[in-house]
Amino acid sequence: MHLEAIAEKCTGCRICENFCSVKHEGAIWPERARIRILAETDSGPFTPNVCRQCEDAACAAACPVEAITKDQSTGAWVVNDDECIGCENCVEACPYHAMFFDAESGKAFKCDLCGGEPECVAICPFGAVQKVP
């Protein structure tokens, strides 16, 4: 499974970012959202940007300790916190700017498809992000 953006439907409301960060961090925290709305101007056009869960993931290839592996049940590439050494190679490698680094914990983080039921897909009022099986 992976997520796809239907940019024309995005109103820039950021509900996806908010629910994503609440799910993963227990707080409303755009800097920790795994999905980010790219805005050309304050009034759009908007594009929801999220990990494509690439077949040949550049992030996983760049990781020197093999801390990024594919969850077979969801198809999501997942960062193993215990293995991650905080080198940020994956952040640099991702061509979609969908890998992020938490400077406080020293670990990389990314979209994990919420274990199979992505919050953003469920909550987007206009279907601007969809899941593709």
């Binding site: 820039g12 409301c13 950021r14 509900i15 609440v22 707080a27 409303i28 304050d42 009034s43």
Partner: protein
Amino acid sequence: MFPYRGYAGKCLYVDLTSGKIETREYDKALAENYLGGNGFGTRLLWENVGPEVDALAPENLLIFSTGPLCGTIVPNPGRMEVIGKSPLTGIYGDANTGGFLGPEFKFAGWDAVVITGQSPRPVYLAIADNQVELRDASHLWGLTTSQTENAIRQAWGDPRVKTATIGPAGENLVRFAGIQITPQRSAARCGLGAVMGSKRLKAIAVRGHGPIRVADPHRLHKVAIALHKRLRANPIFPAVHAHGTPGIVSLMDALGRFPTQNFRMGSFSYVDRINADTLRARAFVRDLACFGCPVACDKLYCVPDGPYAETALRSVEYETVNALGACIWNANLDALLAANRLCDELGLDTISAGRVISFAMELWDEEILNLDDTGGLALYWGDMDTVLPLLRMIAYREGFGNLLAEGVRRAAQTIGRGAERYAMHVKGMEIAAQDGRAQKSMGLAHVTSTRGADHLKAFPVIDETGYPDEGRRRYGEQYLPDIVQPLATKHKAFLVKDGEDFGAVVDSVGMCKSGGTFVLAEIYWPDIAAALEAATGMEMPVEQLQRIGERIYNLQRCYNALHGITRADDKLPRRFSEEASPSGNAKGQTIDIEPMLEEYYQLRGWDAETGWPTAKKLRELGLEGAIERLQR
């Protein structure tokens, strides 16, 4: 440490005279008794800005205040309040705004910014998380609001900085100058832009990277999901999303509630040229939303061709379509949009700006004003070639604009010659796009609003259409059918009081009335109580929340009482009682405010003679301190 989540837990206190910036922990008792938003601002004004302080003096406070639900995941969570004594009315003033600035304050770690004093030179306040400083704004002074925001973002090097800015209108102390809020939304009413200008504060710029932590994320998630679902299933959700507030233009026109020619009429013969369908067909570009809102009622518009081609703007609201449309007898939609954009850039409240012009136009029509008075401007109804330059003249206080910049009440006093008859205001605030003859509850709402004529304090909307569903959803069967009938007066005192108390809470927690709380009539006391408990960790039984709403509203009334407001001021212009409406559903109607007002005072527990809260009511609300102060 501040014990509640949802809040950032800290406020900024800025003294522009000395340049001193102080951090203070959010007051726990204040949070428990007033929540935040306008509740916080009301309490601070009550304690610090007495009747002897002129609204444009350094001693007035200008308060930017968010609430505990602002920036969270309940629907419509993007709102914040600006509070200060109003230079337009001389009494309690506040302006509410959506957009993205409120949440940004909280991401930066601040619940509110309290500004006092006056800077010797133009400055702007730069807040980068917890790094706060005043920066020179002499190069920004004189710029329009969007020029200011762009310049600040460029210098900062971050396009995601959010701002509150004033334009030339605020700099020139126009009494109804507003404050523009990212993204091109407005904290418009009451002239708080002039207060900001009097302090030589050109802008506040904020960038925040931190979290808004909540007490029980799991519970809040449940509450929020349920509210989101209910909103989207609401029968009028599709219409509100499709058109935004202009969606009610045609309906209001049919009701006779669409002020035309300075409230002479309640319907506009050319309403089709400026209604929602026309607006959408002519200029719609895309749907937009405020922070966290699923309704997405905002739109980006762009005029495609003609003399106003390329005019691009957002936040084109029902009020502006009326103020710069029907009320000045303008049917040119392109020119209306250009005028709206111009008000945004100059930093003018579109409602009051439109109303001073419709006032002047009626005076012109009645031959109370002539070319000598206007400095050569002919103020024919609907002449947009005059209106656009006149808006500039108002913002720059040039010529005749200088008189209009004072607001209709003062302008009428200066002009004399019976001009007061045509000044459509309550307590100095220009009346918005409602007509008490067409919707009785709104007449009462205008009169009892604590910031002067205002529809949003009580915001009675369930009696616009006459359909029972919304009334039923909010109140059950008990007040039907009268409570949803626009021309009925029964139960309207209750409707207005309940709206004011609930609205006070909505404005204190940071939610939007155009969403679930009022327009969609889907979110009510128990929902906000549950959301507050989950977000903050505060215990919030519904009765306690209702008490908070009542307390805030009563304290605003007390504040106005200190400034000499009594029952005598709770009245509509004589037009509404003496001239029967000729329009639509309101044809033949006048409005007699007194019976509803009597009932209202009774429900409120206020003294029928003075219109002030009684000592008993004040004690009930824990406002004993006000008793003594009012007696003096």
